[in-house]
Amino acid sequence: MSEQQALLQLTGIAKEFPGTKALKGVDFSLNAGEVHALIGENGAGKSTLIKIIAGLYQQDAGTIEVEGKAVEFHSPADSLEHRIKVVYQELDLVPDLSIAENVFLGNLPKKALRAVDWQALYSRTSELLLDLGLDIDPEVPISALTVAQQQLVEIARALSRQAQIIIMDEPTSALSQTEIESLFAVIRRLQARGVGIMYVSHKLDEIYAIADRVTVFRDGEHIATEAVVNTKHSDLVTWMVGREVKDLYPRTPAKRGDVLLEVDSVSGGNIENFSLNVHAGEIVAVFGLMGSGVHNLGRLIFGNMPRTGSVRLSGEEIHAKAPMDAIRKGLGFLTENRKSDGLLLPLSVKDNITLVSVNNYANLMVINGQEERRATTGIIDKLSIKTPGIAQKIRYLSGGNQQKSLVGRWLLEDLKVLMFAEPTRGIDVGSKAEIYRLMDDMAHGGMGILVLSTELPEVMGIADRIIVIRQGRSAGRWISRQEANEQDLMTAATVQMEKVI
């Protein structure tokens, strides 16, 4: 292995942003036919490294070599030229154009007189898609696809340019288990063709499933590179966090109080007649696969999507179609679509964190800036949000730190019940444990917590009671975590789904 010439070799890469040293001289190499995973805490510098390879940022120091030759990337075009393709954390497809146009974007097949050769465009796209196991009309617009399908389109785009290096930044954060499996099948096929794949993820199980080598960054520094077979799960965590994370799921039994949230035969979207309740001191989890309606359930309850049926909080009816009514009565909701439904990109970290609770710092309508800053700083400390200051624009935070800020938004409000959709999506192990601990604290403080999740280990780890949702209907209930096992939950969530896929 060591004698083999690396496809991509990065040496001593450093990058500084105002207020942050994102990378402090890191190395990374990728061989042909290899899957090399890159992991690290939120803000460790993973996405920054990727953007440097993609030619979006220029490094302050260090060299990039492709097949042994030193290269300089001044723009994404330079990087593409060397057949490097990045599939970003945030997909960059044009929603209103067809699949085919997206796959060949910037590279459309042409006939004489530079006219687009539509026939070639569609037939070549179909071939590429079939190769990836996606049987779908290439004329369909991107906006009609699921996230998983969009991801495959991104990969098809890479193939259309004969990419030899494919980089994936948290590709599975919005995929279902089956979709992840088919993505892995695609990755293995690419690997067999000699493509080198750099794979960034916070899900350590995936590293074991797919990667050959793993590199760990911490705070912009290179900590370790090892063959995956030689590393234990706990090693990876320790390298990432810099200490051991003993107790990822610190759930301790709390006193179960009165019923707080009563959801009674709620319907809307693909959800039909769903009922549940949450008591004070309880963490209830609804588990379902992507597309099962598990996330829509939150929107229905919160009133952000039209519904029939009734939702009561401490006996008081919550109006459909009015999130502010829900919040005023003490119900909070962290959505799973953080970027489109959560972040205020042009605004500061502080304004994002205090968005819901800002009225708590206002006397006679005027905001008390000092109190607001104190509250924000408290959240930043509690969740270890990595930012140079509370006035930093949130768009410059790393993906995971943006997520944490949104979690923090709801911690500041005085609530009775908090619904978390995918509470730890994109968040590193250390902070995951911290968020679970906060949930446990909230339950002990007499709040009710409703978790809406597609992550089985998370559900198994923190919930007092578990409800499985399948195709918009309740598909099984477990009255305690101890009675449930992964196998049963998964079966309940998947049976019958198979024919649909």
């Binding site: 942003f17 489109s340 605004l347 206002a362 005027v366």
Partner: protein, 335 residues
Amino acid sequence: MAVLSKGSGGNSDAASRISRWLLTREAGLVILLLAVVVLFWILEPSTRQQRVYWDLLREISPNLIAAIGVTMLMLAGEFDLSIGSMLAVTSVTTVVVFNGTDNMWLGIIAGLATGPIVGGIHGYLVTRQKMNSLVTTLGSLFALRGMVYVYTNKTPIVDENGFYDFQDAYYNNLGPVPLPFVLAIILVVLALIVLTQTEFGRNIYAIGGNETAARVSGIKVNLIKFILFVICASSAAISGMILTMQTGTGYFDSGSSGFELIVIAGVVLGGIALSGGKGSLVGTLLGILILGMTAKGLRLMGVNTNMQLMVTGSIMILAVFMHSFHDRISIFRNR
């Protein structure tokens, strides 16, 4: 792990505070304004008199007042293109009611009331009927102007009573400060307090930053937008009132020479993002002053209007360049 810089606290000395201020959007605009003033000072001797600047403040007051509403609306990510036509609506309504009732106050009230009415219609169409604000207000730009033309048959309506108190208000001063500018500054300060110190103001930025996020955070997005359309048309009505004072007539073509574009140009020059959520009213104030000073300086120099267009356009592009440069270098928010 949380790396909080002390910079945002209070324990920084004056020098670092100044150097930090120099990095802000507003600092760039202040420098640009000073540069324009100094340039004319050198090139055109008549700009060396104090009087020129007091006149300037009087002249830009209508633009500035209209710009307050436009700024607030644009921060929430919406537009009102009809403000130029609003001026004529207000102007004609005011003088028609003067003549019909022989009562100055009734005329003023009626004229100002056109603002909330038109703004309310815009607000209803955009928030309830989900119509696009750019297109809706482009429609009313033509419709309102057409209404005024039809009603007046394109003849100015003369104030038959000759309410001199009304007309004097435009030319009177408070100390050395022109009365219209006093009003403009009071309104700017009020709006600034609302935008920066109240929840309502914070919510405006939130809506412009990400409307869905604002909605699921319990912000009454539709109500706030409705109010902003009313504020915007009302601030245009106040501008229309001031212009009516200046001439004492109900003028059908008031604001027809691109008033809305000049105001929006000032607002954008001041750093308000077209996509909403970004910028400050102080920027707007400076933007309007820069455009006003440039126009006045060129007029005093006797530069022809083609040349004026060219210079004004170049200054705008320079300012927008400054903003994008600022976005790249700055990591700290400033509003």
